[in-house]
Point group: C2
Chain length 432, copies 2
């Protein structure tokens, strides 16, 4: 970890720079797979599953028997943990449901908004080194609370043709409607275009490697909505002299272990925090099973000593981290000044892993600085908010002249005429 | 207008098909302008403004004098109309501000969401045949209500180097912070990358021609957020036997006059509504100044007779129109069944132009079927919702085992360790 003391503002740009990824070079490979699935449906899915996952799959849909087998493989302790996390996620996401409120803007002109679930959504859960069943909870629970009718989940099979039991168990208890043993670009294609067995969806959620990310971007150009732009996971920690170095190091490591491309940023106002945190990093790192990967992520990461809390928060807002931990006495005061972040953790007991798994907040969050303009996943991500309006005769009389004047000034006579005809009818009625 | 009676479901796909547009062919032109502005800033802006807008501009920023001149050119009647519309938009969008609510998901685990304005946003307002000052209201008002610090507006100058006075007047009264005389791809580039005079923004809003649309899509790939995918404007009207044919025709025409690529869909359960509406269309069309354009749009449009209200709403949900007018006795009952639409207008006095200008709802809405997954612009479009959480000692004790079990099952030991260390510390404290 590189230590930078009292940097000039001109150096900030380099401090907060993310590793860049070139996806354009992947586009030709990805687009050939997308096109093949679009054209050949399930047959293409079988081909790529054999090629990339080394699995021969006849029926991609996970069967009832497979769900039962999976449930039998999950320990009672893990089941209980999943139910506890699920309950917290349901409480927090349940609070995000908006109640329609009718607003009379002008007498006789009533406007309101109502949420409607996106009818069909697709969730992608990667395979790979860690079975991310927690992401199943994070996506399927808000989808179900929103009321999505079809919640499709795709995850790659292993070479024996199976999905990790924890993913299947979570998918079942969180209310996904269809689960398919399909991974990678071919899974994104299947959900974007639909095949004989996979229903087409309107919005695709979930993490993935750079091929999956590229595939999501490419189908987005064809009109499929996405959860948010993808990038490697990251955390920033702000620590004052009340922070516990062992906790700070543990939180940095819990981000760094996600992968060699993860990024952690440690910001402190206290010189005396730096050495203890670095020492803790080293000693804890040596005990981790994913040590090499984690060490690589730390190499790309920085510890920054700044003058005071105001400068710290200015730097952190520029960085716009996915996760921001405020290990500070004045956590609430500093939190009020946070403008750009995905999710904020206050105080010494609020470790990132609480939000990653079980506190109730969502862990699908904007990375790579996207927190400047994007929110994390919530129930909002699974609904559209449709506006409604109803004008009474009184309403159009009160608003008519305003609409006519504006339409005329824009040179849109037909817009004006739609009002004029109605006002005329009401004039005639009034005259009768 | 093509009339289709009692179509089979298999024909729906053709009925609801939108005209398709190929933007890929524009990418090389657009990307050369984007690159030039990125590299050469204001100098490139001057070059393209001279080339495309035939205007020599030294200072792109609209000056105080220019704002005053513009205000003097606006009639008292139009000013009053703009203030009325503004007031309604402020009332309705003001109601969209979310109050944070702290939720205790598990004893000692408190989670909440707070909205933070996107710090810098860019609004694009096209020039062209109609000065769309109403779009200034629709974008700047929610941006200001959200609390965006920098609200940049770009609009192309005419050949005398001026922006239409109604656009400038609306920009001033709605609280934009900087207005620039820049149009087209170069305006999108200026806001996406920043130049010597134009600040870089995080999210770009507003309509435009196919070059502007292509430019927005291309800067989105570089991380700039967009309001929503763009497409030609459209309306669908559902009429029962209580609808007034002249009103239905006027509403269809007020959409069709937007441009030759606009699309209107007229759906009715009543054979006897078709002829009167077609007759009204013809007679009203002949009196319109934008007659040729409007006639072209009508040529691409369809009247569809269906069996009953249920079939109608099923077809309309498949279509997912930007605007949906329910000219029906049972408007509220039918509205409850609308799943996919941008904005819904209930009853015979709720013409689309009410929402286009002044009722209070936003007119920046999802087109081209995007209403299946996207909402129209609202205050939400100008904020991020950040999640916060604070665990007390009690909180981590209550949640710790759950997090540990899940992290261990995902093979993420550092995530688990961040909890274990905290539980140990609390154990030690308890033992003392």
């Amino acid at each position: 970890m590189q230590v930078i003391r009292y940097p000039e503002k001109s150096e900030w740009k380099d401090i907060i720079a993310r590793p860049t990824f070139e996806t354009a070079s992947l586009e030709s490979i990805v687009s050939s797979i997308l096109d093949d699935v679009k054209l050949n449906g399930d047959a293409a899915l079988r081909h790529y599953t054999a090629k990339f996952d080394k699995a021969e799959i006849e029926n991609f849909a996970v069967s009832e028997t497979e769900f039962e087998e999976a449930e039998n493989l999950i320990s009672a302790e893990l089941k209980q943990a999943i139910f506890h996390a699920k309950e917290n996620l349901e409480i927090f996401h349940g609070s995000q449901i908006e109640k329609p409120e009718r607003i009379e803007t002008t007498p006789g002109v009533v406007c309101w908004r109502e949420s409607r679930a996106i009818e069909r959504v697709g969730l992608y859960i990667p395979g790979g080194t860690a079975p991310l069943f927690s992401t199943v909870l994070m996506l399927a629970i808000p989808a179900r609370i929103a009321g999505c009718g079809e919640i499709v989940l795709c995850s790659p099979p292993d070479s024996t043709g199976k999905i990790h039991p924890a993913i299947l168990f979570a998918a079942r208890v969180c209310g996904t409607t269809k689960v398919f043993k399909i991974g990678g670009v071919q899974a994104i294609a299947a959900m974007a275009y639909g095949t004989q067995t996979v229903p087409q969806v309107y919005k695709i959620f979930g993490p993935g490697n750079q091929f999956v990310t590229c595939a999501k971007q490419m189908v987005a150009r064809e009109g499929i909505a996405l959860d948010m732009p993808a990038g490697p996971s990251e955390v920033a920690i702000l620590a004052d002299d009340t922070a516990v170095p062992a906790f700070v190091a543990a939180d940095l490591l819990s981000q760094a272990e996600h992968g060699a491309d993860s990024q952690v940023l440690f910001v402190t106002t206290e010189e005396k925090m730096i050495e203890p945190v670095l020492r803790e990093l080293e000693s804890q790192l040596n005990r981790l099973p994913r040590r090499d990967l984690t060490a690589q992520a730390l190499e790309n990461s920085r510890a920054v000593l700044v003058k005071n809390a105001d400068e710290a928060i200015e730097l952190l807002n520029e960085y716009a981290p996915e996760h921001l931990i405020l290990a500070c006495q004045n956590d609430e005061g500093i939190a009020a000044k946070v403008v750009n972040a995905g999710s904020v953790f206050l105080g010494k007991y609020s470790c990132e892993s609480a939000g990653d798994y079980a506190s109730g907040t969502n862990h699908t969050l904007p990375t790579n600085g996207a927190a400047r303009a994007y929110s994390g996943v919530s129930v909002d991500s699974f609904v559209k908010k449709i506006t409604f309006q109803k004008l009474s005769a009184e309403g159009i009389k009160n608003l008519g002249a305003t609409i006519e004047a504006m339409a005329a000034a824009e040179g849109l006579e037909a817009h004006k005429n739609a009002v004029t005809l109605r006002l005329k009818e009401l004039g005639r009625k009034a005259a009768v």
